[in-house]
């Protein structure tokens, strides 16, 4: 038996650096981004981070592709908003700060209700069943107006309840800090869960469900427990959304929300814990910020997603990790010029494409009033040929340049990795 010294892990300061750094950043962000819009965006990001991390408990950690995760966050949101109304009417004495627990517990209960039958199988069957249940619940929401509030949804007032320490959740800043605290707590909890026996066995079930059975584990129970836990955190995020927006409607359960978290998690990267966090930030940026600039935001997001599926299925996190490895070995300098060329060409092609898309939208909607589209300082008369021709040329040239640059990147990449391989031999 080896007699190595026991490693005192909890006292290792380096481990706490990311967590402390994140906490500090979350605390200080509102001071940097004072604009109300930025605060809204940050709040939405926090909510999405919890939702995406809970989704990755299923997708990345247990190998379960769900098309209906919004069911749990939506139902958690509905329960939370009803509780909030009860608090407002004085029928329930419960601190608003702890309302996400109501969302979480109700999400978990629905996870127990739907989870046992849905987790019998994994793979495509699970995906289909999750889709079916999501559509079923969404369809039910219009049939039961008592609970779901019909087409208008259910509204509430988040400033009810006894304010303590002057916190009433009236101002958006206070809501932001509530979300920030819950995001830290939920993230830490989900991270801790990955380092438990259940978390590790869930990984084993993902990699090889048959072998997992042959080491004594009922894969059905493992998947079921992961689903219930994921549903808990989804419910927490739903409740925070209910507090933030003070309204819950049928779209909280809907296909677009379920699809959105799938997009977000996949773009971020399912193989790393931090992947969904990155994906949630990117996704919220598209939905919250880019959507106010262009009508085609979902097209761009969809294209981004598809490009990731085709060329980087490990997500942004995998790209970052691979490049960090190269950088650690001091070889990033060989890649940087190739990256730069590809980035420049790609941006040009994207610019050409986006110009055409924006001009199409402008032509359909606004050109009747004023044929000139102002885009990035350019004045483009969409009723004449030159802007279209110009944009097409930029797109074609950028595209061709990107094709060439991408091949150079690939060559350099292989070179770098050959050196890395030799270095470790």
């Amino acid at each position: 038996m080896s007699t190595e010294a026991r490693r005192c892990e909890p006292l290792n300061p380096w481990r706490w650096l990311p967590w402390g750094g994140a906490a500090a950043a979350l605390a200080l962000l509102p001071l940097v981004f004072r604009h109300g819009f930025a605060l809204t965006l940050l709040s939405q990001m926090g909510i999405m981070v919890i939702f995406a991390l809970s989704y990755n408990m299923l997708l990345g950690q247990s190998g379960l592709l769900s098309f209906g995760h919004a069911v749990y966050s939506g139902l958690g949101a509905y329960c939370a908003v009803h509780a909030l109304n009860l608090i407002g009417k004085g029928q329930l004495a419960f601190p608003v700060s702890a309302l996400p627990l109501v969302g979480g517990v109700s999400g978990a209960l629905f996870g127990v209700l739907f989870g046992w039958v849905t987790t019998k199988k994994s793979g495509t069957t699970f995906a289909m069943i999750s889709l079916g249940i999501a559509e079923m619940v969404a369809a039910c929401s219009l049939m039961l107006p008592g609970f779901f509030g019909g087409e208008g949804g259910v509204t509430a007032n988040r400033t009810v309840g006894r304010a303590f320490l002057g916190i009433s959740y009236g101002p958006a800043t206070q809501v932001y800090y509530l979300i920030a605290v819950w995001t830290m707590v939920a993230t830490a909890a989900m991270f801790a869960l990955t380092r438990t026996p259940l978390g590790r066995i869930a990984n084993a079930v993902r990699d090889n469900p048959e072998r997992a059975e042959f080491i004594g584990y009922d894969t059905h129970v493992v998947r079921f427990l992961q689903l219930v836990l994921a549903a808990f955190f989804a419910g927490v995020s739903g409740a925070l959304a209910a507090i933030n927006f003070e309204i819950v409607s049928a779209e909280a359960l809907g296909a677009s929300r379920s699809g959105g978290v799938l997009l977000a998690t996949f773009i971020g990267g399912t193989g790393w814990f931090v992947g969904p966090i990155i994906g949630a930030v990117v996704y919220t940026f598209f939905v919250g910020a880019i959507s106010s600039v262009t009508k085609a935001w979902l097209l761009y997001l969809g294209l981004f997603f598809i490009v990731m599926v085709l060329f980087a299925p490990g997500g942004v996190a995998s790209l970052a990790a691979a490049n960090l490895r190269v950088a650690k070995a001091g070889l990033f300098g060989r890649l940087a010029p190739a990256y730069g060329a590809a980035l420049g060409a790609g941006l040009a092609a994207l610019g050409g494409f986006a110009t055409i898309v924006e001009m199409i939208y402008y032509h359909e909607l606004e050109a009747v009033n004023d044929p000139v589209l102002r885009l990035l300082g350019l004045r483009l008369d969409v009723t004449t040929a030159p802007p279209w021709f110009g944009a097409a040329v930029v797109l074609a040239a950028g595209g061709a340049a990107f094709w060439v640059a991408a091949r150079r990147v690939r060559v350099r990449w292989n070179e770098v990795h050959e050196r890395l391989g030799r270095g470790s031999a």
Binding site: V117, L131, M136, A139, L142, L144, F305
Partner: protein
């Protein structure tokens, strides 16, 4: 009685349309293992192409050109998209088609706008075909059934009587063996995917003007097609046929029925107490519950008999 007959015919015509969609999906799934989330998007493209062509040139030209165009797009998608993701596994292929559905919907928004477009039934086919005791059955529904049956008969003949059909049927169950025998399986994948897309596009041409043509149509029909494929049994054309008719009739009948459990209880002289959730549930009529019924059926099938009605492969 007349209500029953007309509703049945309507249900069958809708079911045949569903079969045009689900047969393409089943062929693609059986042969390539890919569950094509963008299949209903091809349906939508067929309808929109037909709209544009029929308003500029004519309906009959649209009937031929639109499916071919959609089929060509399908082949391109397979050649440049699916083939790239193929090596990452079935989940990646599924996600690719999932993202594709988003993109196609957004492109439709871009080109045709977000509102429904006025894709009309051509004048020659507008009007009643026959009437039973006052309830009329439209010509166009009959036309839909004719086109569906003709197309499916052609598909059946192509699969059973031609050489390429034989090879495709072999590749449905044993793609690797067929490749080992020297057939160009990737080219066949492209043909099958394109053919499935063209079939979906044709369904869009004839269905888009009977029902509504709007950007949300892909999502609506798409889920129903999945229900059909799951209930019929993934990988079984016969099962998809039965399930298409079943669900077509289920949906058509259920939106017309005003029965409810409360109504049945009232006939027996019972009245549940007001205000309870149970009472609210019992008060729901079949027509109100109609949207839920297909999904309820799918979930029940997945729980109780995951193979579906006639499935050979489990998902």
């Amino acid at each position: 009685m007349e209500f029953f007959l007309v509703t049945l015919l309507n249900g069958v015509s809708y079911g045949l349309l569903l079969f045009m969609l689900s047969s393409g999906l089943t062929l693609i799934f059986s042969m390539m293992g890919v569950l094509n989330f963008a299949h209903a998007s091809f349906y939508m493209l067929g309808a929109y192409f037909a709209y544009s062509i029929s308003t500029r040139i004519g309906f009959w030209q649209a009937l031929v050109v639109a499916p071919v165009a959609v089929g060509a797009i399908g082949m391109l998608v397979e050649r440049f998209g699916l083939r790239t993701v193929h090596r990452y596994g079935h989940v990646a292929e599924l996600l690719f088609t999932f993202g594709l559905a988003y993109i196609i919907e957004e492109l439709v928004h871009l080109v045709w706008g977000r509102l429904p477009v006025d894709y009309r039934i051509p004048a020659q086919l507008d009007g009643p075909l026959f009437a039973i005791y006052g309830t009329s059955f439209p010509i166009y529904r009959g036309f839909m059934m004719l086109v569906s049956v003709t197309m499916l008969a052609a598909l059946y003949l192509a699969l059973t009587r031609t050489r390429i059909g034989l090879v495709i049927r072999a590749a449905l169950t044993h793609p690797h063996m067929v490749e080992a025998l020297g057939h160009d399986v990737p080219r066949m994948f492209m043909l099958v995917f394109g053919g499935g897309a063209a079939l979906a596009g044709l369904a869009g041409v004839i269905g888009g003007n009977a029902f509504v043509t709007e950007p949300g149509m892909a999502a609506l029909v798409g889920v129903i097609v999945f229900v059909v494929v799951v209930v019929g049994g993934m990988g079984s054309l016969a099962g998809a046929f039965i399930a298409s008719l079943l669900i077509g009739c289920l949906q058509t009948f259920s939106v017309a029925l005003d029965w409810s459990i409360a109504g049945a209880l009232a006939r027996l002289g019972l009245q549940p107490p007001p205000g309870l959730l149970v009472t609210e549930l019992f008060g729901i009529t079949v027509s109100q519950a109609a949207p839920v019924l297909p999904y309820l059926l799918m979930v029940l099938v997945l729980i109780l008999r995951p193979r579906g009605i006639m499935g050979t492969r489990e998902a």
